[in-house]
Amino acid sequence: MEPILKTEKLTIRFGGHTAVDSVDFEMPANHFKSIIGPNGAGKTTFFNLISGELKPTAGRVLYKGKDLAGESPIDRTRQGLGRSFQITNVFPSLSVLENVRLAVQSKKKIRFDFLRHFSSYASLTEEAEQLLELVLLKDKRDAAASQLAHGEKRKLEIAMLLALDTEVLLLDEPTAGMSLEEVPAILDVIRKIKTERQKTILLIEHKMDMILDLSDSIMVLFNGRLLADGPPDVIMQNERVQNAYLGGIEHGTAPQNG
């Protein structure tokens, strides 16, 4: 099957530092792949290259066989590449509901209607409310996004991404900073999306149990390089991976997101 997402020799250098170093990667549609790697390995930068926020120094990103060079983040989102952000990236003084509603509005392609009141599109508000319910944020719908606790902002990020309903979901540490009680609910959401909605999901995470639970495959980034890519059990046995990264995990010193 033709891969839905693919990179060829994808590289970006910041000054002398190569943050992503000729990464060849591909994944088929409806696949769930996790990216692991220590802090600073280049995982977020890899996302930024796929979503178009950063331009590669060399190499290319292919989506459904098409080279995305020259396509803005706007175009990529519209074509079906949606992402969430590691550092929460919302509309701070708008209400939680409005944050999600704006994402739903974009999905529905209601972009330039200036004649009707926004609330006359009741279905948008309804859909936004359902998403808030899904991520357990319903009771915060009228709070300003800036007033949310960190874990709640993470949930809002997820709701906004889901609202876009893109074919590919790039999730950058969706549960980082959430309290332990909150994580299982979000795991459930991600699992549900995976099974129900036929999505291709690329997930950056540090929580190994979560990754092993969800992933069809795992890729390991280390110093910007792709160290390994394969099914979870193979990756867990991989010697290079063990040495470079996983070594500590059995001893309970998994790198945490700093």
Partner: protein
């Protein structure tokens, strides 16, 4: 889906009706002229609010659009018959020119970051000021020229009512515009442009639209302004016009539309009374100093403007709806 009229709409309509009754119960010319002035500047300040309060664009050149409307109407009324038709056509022509120029000004945001955009608008409006000074055959330079307004406007009350009606129309039109799905995206652009792009909105288009709506509306204010004076000179292009609009918007409350109207009232009334006082106490000749003080006080005590202050009073009692927003949201350059 019909919603019941909300109290704010009702009280605004009542206020408009009361204002419309004034010419019939009072024959104070001074007040009619002063209120007309307030209405005109309310339109200008609201247009500035669309830029600053909704799209989050800081422009120091808003006077150029006011000036374009002013000169277009003045020149056309002067060259042709001072009829209502010419007056209406001159408003349309001014809006068209302002629309075209504001379109290109809006496009500049593509290449220019916030403060460079502000500087460029300043330079551009300076250019228009110089043009008005040098193009003597049309503008008569600094001295300007007088012209006749349409006959019906000889009656100050008629002009007053016309301007009031236009104010009401502009207010409700801009209110619908800012509350439309498009307007909501505009607010998103102000809040976090990069995130708005990530949602799939072409933010440049929204900034251009905001620029055009603001420019066109400012031009209307300029057209009305010169008809109220029956005179035009280069002062309509001056920096003071932009500063007035800025001050009115900030004191009244950015991103509220009603705030700029309140701000226009305060500033115009203050100017009126302070210049009266200046006759007795020379200290007040420097009334601009008082605006400086007023501005500082406003920023300290009403950071969201007067309208924002009352809004947050109400929302605190009802539900914590998002308060009037801060002017400068964090905009991460590269997301992580």
């Amino acid at each position: 889906m019909k919603k019941p009229m909300n109290w704010s709409k009702i009280s605004l309509i009542i206020a408009a009706v009361l204002l419309a009754a004034i010419p019939f119960v009072s024959d104070s010319r001074t007040w009619l002229i002063l209120l007309t002035q307030i209405f005109i500047f309310s339109i200008l300040a609201m247009s500035y609010d669309v830029l600053l309060g909704y799209a989050g664009m800081v422009s120091f050149g808003h006077a150029m659009f006011f000036g374009i409307g002013a000169y277009t109407t003045a020149v056309l009324l002067d060259r042709f018959e001072p009829t209502l038709l010419v007056f209406s056509l001159s408003i349309a022509a001014g809006m068209l020119i302002a629309g075209i120029i504001s379109f290109f000004v809006g496009l500049l945001t593509l290449r220019l970051k916030d403060h460079f955009f502000a500087m460029l608008t300043l330079a551009l409006s300076g250019l228009f000021l110089v043009l008005a000074e040098k193009w003597r055959s049309v503008t008569n330079g600094n001295d300007g020229f007088t012209f006749s307004a349409p006959d019906v406007f000889r009656d100050r009350a008629v002009f007053y009512l016309t301007v009031l009606a236009l104010l009401v129309v502009v207010y409700f039109a801009l209110r619908r515009f800012t509350n439309s799905p498009l307007g909501r995206v505009l607010i998103a652009v102000r809040e976090n442009e990069q995130r708005t792009k990530a949602l799939g909105y072409r933010t440049l288009a929204y900034k251009v639209i905001a620029s055009v709506v603001a420019g066109v509306t400012a031009s209307l204010a300029g057209s009305l302004y010169v008809v109220s004076l029956r005179f035009v000179n280069t002062s309509v292009m001056a920096m003071d016009v932009t500063l007035d609009a800025l001050l009115m918007t900030i004191i009244g409350g950015v991103g509220t539309l009603i705030g700029p109207i309140i701000g226009a009232g305060i500033i115009e009334l203050a100017q009126h009374y302070l210049s009266d006082l200046a006759g007795e106490y020379p200290l007040f000749e420097r009334w601009i100093i008082f605006f400086g003080i007023l501005y500082i006080l406003a920023v300290i005590f009403f950071p969201t403007g007067i309208a924002g202050f009352f809004k947050s009073l109400f929302s605190r009692r009802r539900r914590p709806e998002a308060d009037a927003p801060p002017l400068e949201p964090a905009k991460p350059e590269v997301p992580r």
